[in-house]
């Protein structure tokens, strides 16, 4: 039946929306949480001028120790690089097993996916704590700590890309009698090469950020220095360290974004 639009015909009822109910529930929950956490945003409000004064202390960066900061940053970058290469190698080996359409057996697929989930679940710093406890201080446990979770991420990304590859490409190769490694090497990786490089650059980018805080748990790099200068209330040096970090991270960010654009 066609509805006639003549003046006076009542409009169709407005669809019922539960949005206000949800909003009210979320706001109530927030209110409860803020109380439970004991956060008082009022003090923040009163303290705006104090905050201005506080951040002005960072106004005069003290670059007296610049060479040592740059060395620490280089250690951080090297840690991220080693972690990323570790992740890349592990992901290269695990990804084909974790792709549903390539995996030699559904059980292998499930087991590999679960392994990847476990690798991704624990935060880098927690792993760094474990590795420092097990191997000792220094950047090497740091490289392992950024490498393990990112191996999980990379392998998952690669596996998902491998699953999206046109089935005909795999079949074409398999029909020539290629075995599993041959299908992976000559049909799988070539099809996703660019995508995979893009993911790897993105992961390198992320690892530089993560590696810069690993020093907090004794895993080398620039993070520990910042922790020390801040606990000594040495704002000049802290500002210098933050600037060195910020500039490096932004440079790596731009370089990887530029490379990814070239690849796309």
């Amino acid at each position: 039946m066609k509805r006639r639009l003549v003046p006076g015909t009542p409009l169709a009822p407005r669809p019922r929306s539960l949005f206000p109910v949800w909003l009210a529930a979320v706001l109530a929950l927030l209110w409860l949480i803020v109380h439970h956490l004991g956060i008082s945003f009022e003090t923040l409000g009163y303290g705006v001028t104090d905050m201005g004064e506080y951040f002005s202390r960072y106004g005069r960066p003290d670059f007296g120790d610049l060479p040592s900061y740059l060395r620490l940053m280089a250690v951080t970058l090297a840690t991220a690089f080693w972690g990323t290469v570790f992740a890349l190698v592990v992901a290269f080996l695990l990804a084909p097993l974790a792709a549903r359409n390539l995996s030699p057996h559904p059980l292998v697929f499930r087991a590999t996916r679960e392994l990847l989930n476990v690798m991704r679940a624990l935060p880098d710093l927690l792993l760094a704590l474990f590795f420092v406890a097990a191997i000792g201080l220094g950047p090497m446990p740091g490289a392992l700590a950024v490498g393990v979770p990112t191996a999980g991420f990379l392998a998952k990304f690669f596996a998902e890309s491998l699953e999206r590859v046109d089935a005909g490409i795999y079949e074409g190769l398999a029909s020539t009698g290629a075995n599993f490694p041959q299908v992976v090497m000559y049909a799988g990786w070539p099809s996703i090469l660019r995508e995979a490089l893009g993911f790897t650059l993105y992961i390198l980018d992320r690892n530089v950020r993560m590696a810069s805080v690993l020093g907090l748990v004794g895993a080398g790099g620039i993070g520990a220095a910042l922790h020390v200068t801040l606990s000594l209330f040495d704002y000049g040096r802290s500002a210098a360290l933050i600037l060195v970090m910020l500039v490096t991270i932004l440079l790596v960010d731009y370089a990887s974004a530029w490379l990814r654009r070239r690849l796309a």
């Binding site: 979320v26 927030l30 949480i33 439970h36 956490l37 004991g38 956060i39 003090t43 923040l44 303290g47 506080y54 280089a74 250690v75 970058l77 090297a78 840690t79 690089f81 080693w82 290469v85 989930n117 476990v118 679940a121 624990l122 935060p123 710093l125 927690l126 704590l129 474990f130 406890a133 097990a134 191997i135 000792g136 220094g138 950047p139 090497m140 740091g142 490289a143 000559y186 990786w189 070539p190 090469l193 950020r209 993560m210 810069s212 805080v213 907090l216 748990v217 080398g220 993070g223 910042l226 922790h227 801040l230 933050i242 970090m245 910020l246 991270i249 932004l250 960010d253 070239r262 690849l263």
Partner: protein
Amino acid sequence: MTKGWNWRWPTRSGLPPLAAVAAVAGVLLMLWLTAPLVEIDLHRILGSAGKMAAFAGDLMVKPDWKYLPQLFWKMVETMEMSFVATSIALVVSLPLGLLAARNATPHVLVYRVIRDLLGLLRAMPELVWALVFVSAVGLGPLAGVMALAIVTVGFMSKFFAESIEVVDPKQVEGIAAHGAGWIQVRLFGMLPQVLPDFVGTVMYVLDHNLRAATILGFVGAGGIGFDLIMSVRLFQYDRLLLIAGSIYLVVTALDHLSNRWRSRIIHGAAA
């Protein structure tokens, strides 16, 4: 096919392509050059096998069950921190995302400035912000919430802006043709189109923030991280095991939930 490099693989000759060989050689050279910086030492890795086994042995202790209630509340605090930070960031990111989208911004200059500002917010890891905020507002969850919120605003606004930039312009024009004002065009022309994307982004960010919140306590910014680092420093392995296990459980549970909800909302299985 960039710069005439041979990316094709397999090659006609059956040998690996030149570009791949060059890339692998370059990476190996870089690894070799940076090895002293990372203090890579095969002897140490091999020698630490025993230490690792001993450490793993240390972990095999009876968990300290009496610690469970405290652990539960610390975990709740961690989740609360990520929830509050995500909510604050959401409120800030909605307008910022609009200003940072090329097709919704009032002026190109505003777009550029906001985009660069967001880049700065994203640049530093949460933990560095947490260090600064602990030093500014003192120990406790407030510093952690602020650190999380700042980084999250950077990410969320960028994601929002990117989803707004790919809306279908026809619907926007249709709304504008009715004489809708600046706000109305964005509210009724753009927002309905990007809503599923936004919900997906919020879920992803919530997930990310929970992971980040578990370690903020390392610097005293609230949450489970403080107990975690103390249990390592004091060799309380009976607690360490419980804490690591609970982090693993909560993170994977939220991961599964957010994946499920995201795919439901984006693919509209039960819209």
